[in-house]
Assembly symmetry: D2
Homo-oligomer: 367 residues x 4
């Protein structure tokens, strides 16, 4: 499978550079008969979009999706679905002076080492703009998962810099609150503080990292495959492929290191599991509990503060980003992380159906 | 690609159950002309093996590798290399009473939910015994990487329970020390303490988690592919596919969350990078710095302490593992983690060579 | 790999329906640094296009290629190349009355059986219009093969109905003649006869089959992989995937059945092979001789002559195609067959380079 | 997918050389719960085996299958099934003098060009012995197809040299006759003539080609995928990958070239199709009619008659095969061709189930 494609059976291939004429994707292997229209993409694309608040980059893209194929009379036909979004607000001149310079913390240097050539406009293919198409493709995946199985995939910001949500342990997340503020933050009372925090960061010309948690609920037991196709392995790959992600956890994650076995193992009772340190996955296969994944996003390297680097001639230079960037890219990563989880789930659902038949046969279910 | 296969071009397919007649693998796409003999596998297999000290499971397997194909007069021919190891010390009777019971924290329940049938002997396919073949396959990968590029892939235990290595920040790991104790621990003075710690744990019938760090040095710049085939994405998948792994970090990992962009971004100087928070990977492609990956391993669920669970009839039961198990599976994970990193690297090296030609053309190199 | 993608390393994913808004493709894994501009596609697309003579369908499509990504300042960058062609002359009303009817010899019935839904406009995804993108993608493949290895991939019509080229056995094909007539026919003197033949066929409202031969010359020895990735196996798949193809031959093909081993085996002499019954491939790997492949194309089922069929209600109906169709689709198949051969060759070339290093090491070469 | 693997979801990876210690395969993605035991492989392996009559090679292999994994209490568990057959009658000394010589018509020269090294014993990986594992793997595929859908995949010899079965056009094949003679020949009365024919050939130290037809009956409509994953494209690849195959036809095959559209298109009537020139496949998807495929096998190049070739030094030499070989390899190709058709069908069946759900929903069926 090509490296710009994702998924074995529900396969999404994306293309496009940040400041090229367009970005797009081709979705192959989609089940037929799913109702889909251009306006269905608006909600999630808007959640991911820049320019919606002063806390994200000020690039304004309409992100209007054109469906080029695979949909007939607003239903998927089973043939490849091509989606296209024209880039409209690409200010390539912002990058002119970076043509010969490798920005620190960016892919400029490595792309150039790999290919001997690179598209310098806005980070080219390495830009987070590519993730727009992941979100678009996942709109269809989420719809199928929700309508067929009741699966819901939802994320929220679980840390920004040193700030954590003021929640008691095991508290249930209120996703209405999450969706009502610009930070996907689960505690409404903390939002003003975050606004000040980000404003100060922007004034300082700096950026900060973030942690995003994703919860997939109502996932049937039995999805995932041993041993390299484990659901958690594929989630790890899917989430780590998002720009700026430096870590992935499933369930208890790194906290498992200092746990005892008697504490970590989730006991089963006749009315369900007693805890969920496993994050809903055992042996790479879902248990029927919520699937829990978390990611760490690094602070964006595109900041106003000057940094030292080298140019093509190997000379020492000072670099200062002028493009429009996010003080915390992690905020907008919430819908992207949801998208990647949804894409992994639909793919595994189809693979499970292939090998074992449709879900829903009579087995005792514990969750 | 099938879910028991790993790698696009250097493809390893493993098979076998913990207590079945044999385990094995088929390696396809191996470069021809690599010198390899049965005894070459002994070193790394021994590092992974159980029964070498009282700190690991007491199962004793000879782990003798038979080369069934793909090698002629001790050289790889380019055709599939099949490796076979017979299981000899499988005590399936230890598991007889677990036939109808789902052990908590194990894959028993999920395999049964998926397939409606499961091999209950020793965890079947979900056993860590499968990882033996990853280590075997990686012996060939490591050899090619080392001989052709000088790449070295080495790991060590970076945390066990709450105990961390007594190292100053940025200290260079002495791998001679790591290889001289049963814990792959980088600080010799702490080993007696660890021995007591594990002994107490064993007496208590419990287990604990661990953190493993892997360092790949001398990796040429340019390996890795945008955007779903990113080197870090594939490392995440490879490492998360190891039994008991619950988290993966690249470079600064979750610590990035509370870093500032001005701190995290690794500045470039004409004599190299000033730091390595990125873990040697930018935009999914190697920069020429050391590739740094870390994993969290959960405490094994196979412990003597009884736990509550349910049986096939859905009744509440008490489960107590009798099989031979590790108080800390994380210890033996060191060579397995190295193996997965090596398998990802050789695969990306071959893919890079396919698209961009052989490494070594004249480009300024910074590292 | 998804079923609308082709190639393991040089991967082409096509999308689009005959009468949808657009057709397009994404090429992933392309070597960087290949000079390419929109006008480079015109020549081969024109060779495949309809409406160029009275002997093909009268649909007129501009077939203007827009490069959406992967090319910067007219050079490939190594990232996915997306090509887009808008459909402009789609007359869907021609198909209105076929909405509920399965045309005999078409994919109408099978698509509907598979998906329970189908795009009836002009055959939808099953239309030969899809092959436009194969030809476009192969323009880049052909360029790389020619510039790097001197490989040339050229085809011609080797039979139309019962008419065969008036050539002596073993005659060398003059491709200047082939390219100078509307039939890709290698004997100029027969062209007037073919014109009359096709005119009569059109008047009769009927169609006829064709045979296309493709020759790839200057192919280095060593391309192709055992045992399911054999070059001939992949050529067979690639060529059989072209609309209307019902047979594929390599070298002597079906004539081998009545040959003796002493006749068929191509003896080697110090100055080269004495014959080429193998078609340049032994054990799935190129020998350095010309690679020879042939295909059989059925007569198109879209003809004016009425035919019997059934409708969605299962009732007997009479069907008569009104759309614009070819009396012999085989004619336009020449550039499509070349394209598929070129796509197979570039993919195998990259795979060979991955496993065995760049071509050109010192081995005795016989061809 | 690696080149020694076949199938996207029901994936068979084979390994082993003709005269190495063993051959084997790993089957991944197999549906769970299929009853399978070692003795189930005997029938088809015996049909493919050498040494059963004087008309095939005199190599005698027990072909005893050891099941190494994936089967528990005689049922498939859904995990990888590894099958192993030890080579017992490998006389490598027969090949000693061929070490430095490239046999004409063999893969000796091309393997050496590709890899710079080759296993010369009995053709190594290029030997038809590899096909044993295809037949073994297909035993499971055939069982699932038959038990779940009633699909039967059966082949017969349709031509040997210039001899064709004495059958009237459209005659139904009697597979009891086919299975009752050493030639898989459908007309009992011709068998004595074939015996004489092959005996004469053997005496002459020569060989001859053959044509094999395969019929898959009761295949449900809807299997196969546009556009590169067409069922006929995958059959072409699968069949062309068999040693010595030089041509593949679906349905009318090359005879389509001289047909008219009004003749070739299979009209639909309310009680089914009126003919089957398409070979049961339209647009790459099954129609519910019998799937018909044919292959051409070249005469084996391993014959007693001396042939001219070159050696490693590039010198002209005379080669005479001493190994035990078949005067007509095509005879034993019948079960191999069946196997490949069955492997393609099960794979497409699983893929269809993944995308479109289980077969059997209410649609009008015409066949």
């Amino acid at each position: 499978m090509s490296s710009n494609s994702f998924g074995k059976l529900f396969t999404v291939t994306t293309f496009g550079e940040s400041h090229g004429p367009a970005i797009g994707c081709v979705i192959d292997g989609c089940p037929p008969g799913i109702a889909i229209a251009p306006q269905d993409f608006a909600h999630d694309l808007s959640r991911r979009a820049t320019g919606k608040s002063r806390f994200t980059s000020q690039r304004h893209e309409a992100d209007e999706v054109e469906i080029l194929s695979g949909v007939y009379e607003n239903k998927t036909t089973g043939t490849p679905i091509a989606l296209l979004i024209r880039n409209t607000d690409a200010r390539s001149k912002d990058y002119d002076e970076l043509l010969d310079t490798f920005r620190p913390g960016h892919a400029d240097y490595t792309y150039w080492q790999k290919y001997g050539i690179r598209d310098p406009r806005g980070g080219g293919r390495a830009s987070a703009r590519e993730t727009t198409m992941r979100v678009a493709a996942a709109v269809i995946a989420k719809k199928w998962l929700r309508e067929k199985f009741g699966v819901q995939v939802r994320g929220y910001l679980a840390q920004i810099g040193d700030v954590m949500p003021d929640l008691s342990k095991g508290a249930v997340i209120d996703f209405d609150i999450v969706e009502s503020n610009a930070f996907f933050w689960p505690v409404a009372a903390q939002v003003p503080r975050l606004e000040k925090y980000i404003d100060a960061l922007r004034k300082d010309g700096d950026s900060v990292g973030a942690r995003v948690d994703v919860v997939a609920s109502n996932v049937p037991p039995g999805w995932g495959e041993p041993v390299y196709g484990k659901l958690d392995a594929e989630l790890a790959s899917a989430l780590m492929s998002i720009n700026a992600v430096k870590g992935v956890e499933i369930g208890a994650g790194f906290a498992s290191v200092s746990q005892r076995g008697s504490e970590h193992r989730d006991e089963l009772r006749s009315d369900g599991f007693a805890s969920n340190h496993a994050g809903g996955i055992l042996g790479g296969i879902t248990s029927g509990q919520d699937v829990l994944a978390s990611i760490a996003l690094k602070p964006t390297s595109s900041i106003l503060k000057p940094g030292r680097s080298v140019n093509l001639a190997g000379e020492q230079v000072e670099v200062r980003s002028k493009g429009r960037h996010d003080p915390c890219v992690g905020i907008r990563a919430v819908p992207i992380a949801e998208a990647m989880v949804a894409l992994v789930l639909i793919d595994q659902a189809l693979r499970h159906r292939a090998q074992c038949g449709d879900v829903g046969e009579v087995k005792p279910r514990i969750a």
